[in-house]
Structure formats: C-alpha cells, structure tokens
Symmetry: C2
Subunit: 136 residues, 2 copies
C-alpha cells in the first residue's frame, strides 16, 4: 500500500472513531494543494476542539520537521484548538500527543518514537475523555 | 462551468477570505463520500467556530431540503459551532445566514432568496466581527 493511501485509510479510521464516540469530525481537503496550514482532522465536542495531524507508520519512530509542527501550533492557536499528533503504529494502534509538550531535537526538528508515545502519549479513550484526568 | 466546479471555486474563495482576515479555516474532504454530516467549511478564531454550507448561484433563490439543514444543525450542535449558510449570488456577492433563524416552508424544506438575504443576512465583515453587533 502506498504511503499516501495508507495515510488516507487511517485518517478515515480515526475520523470514524470520533463519530462513533459522539464527537463530530471533518477531514481536511487539499492539505497538499494550499500553502495554508491544514491539520488532517478537526474534531470536537461541546467542550473541546482538536486539530490533529495523523501519521500511520510501520517503523518505530517518525521525524517531523519543525515547520510542520509549527504550522499545526499556529493553526491551533488561531482557531482555539488543541494541537495533537496522532501516531498509529502497525499492529499496535493509536497514541495521541499534545504538540505543546513535544521536545525538539538539537536541530529544531522532532522525532516521535513508539517508546515516547508509550510514556507520554494517551490512548483514544483518554483523548475524548476528561482532559483534567489525562496527561494532556 | 459545472455546478460542482463552481461550488468548489467559491468554497475556495470563502476559505481564503477567512485566512485573509486572520481566521483559520478548513475545507471539508469528501462531504459527498460519507453519509456523515460535513459542512463545506469550518472556520474559527479564538472566540467563534462556524460550520458553513456554501451555495453559489446564478438565480435569485435556492431550495434546501430539511435533511440538509438539519444535518448542519446537528453537526454544529455536536462540535459547538454556529451553523451558517453562505449564499453567493452571481455579480452580487456573499450573504451569511444563521441557520437557527431560518423559517421552514409548509413542507418542512427551506427556500432562501436574495431578498431574504438582503433583509436577514449579514455580510462577511459582520460575520467575522462582533456577533453582538450583528443580527446573528
């Protein structure tokens, strides 16, 4: 499966997970065709709005350029959403990270590993639950 | 120009109007490919989130089925957004209507005319300004 096709497949999976939990969600169109920042998914309920960048990977870590992370932060600040990176590891599942808690590398970029996700990430049930009781 | 192409063109116009006004906006992907309700655009700033259905027309009025309007209301209630219908009349421009203020026809559907928009609609500057000072 191509990387792009896999990305779309799991974006849709996450999109449906929100709807199945009585949240509303939209997948963003043309995040590749405009220079303007666009998260993959915007999801919310009456209390929270989440701007989410999704990555589905086979390996155990993923690099993010500082510009990509900064765009998600800027978008989220503008629309008053929580900036979230959603990582899906093959055969393991989803973890969610608050972008504001990420630590940058020496070069200003970011590396998100499965180990980091297990320590600092939260699972979907926590993401859609009460933030006060989660790490976010 | 096909109706679909025209729709996309003016969705993008509105999308850029928000960005040019320091709001953030996303165009929704695949609103046709999922049975789940999806507005054409979600736009927001720190204070407001708008779920917007766009229509660009040549004629002077447009019919909306009650299901379409109800879906926009339901989506907006779930995500805590204001449900907005954005009407663009050729050679005249945009008007914005709060869906909660629409009056249904006898059959439960809706008709939105240019005259109604001129009376009850607001312009873009008002939409992105202070709600308290507008009709919304």
């Amino acid at each position: 499966m191509s990387s792009k096709r896999k990305g779309t497949l799991y974006e849709r999976e996450l999109f449906h997970m929100f709807w199945n939990s009585s949240w509303a969600a939209v997948r963003s169109a043309g995040s590749g065709s405009t220079p303007l920042p666009a998260p993959d998914i915007l999801a919310g309920n009456k209390e929270k709005l989440l701007a989410i960048e999704c990555k589905a990977i086979k390996s155990k870590s993923k690099h993010f350029k500082k510009e990509e992370v900064q765009q998600l932060k800027t978008f989220s600040e503008t629309i008053n959403a929580n900036p979230i990176i959603a990582m899906r590891f093959d055969n393991i599942g989803w973890f969610f990270l608050d972008v504001n808690n990420l630590k940058e590398n020496k070069n200003g970029n970011y590396t998100i590993s499965l180990n980091h996700c297990k320590k600092e990430g939260i699972k979907f049930a926590e993401l859609i639950g009460d933030y006060k009781q989660s790490k976010l």
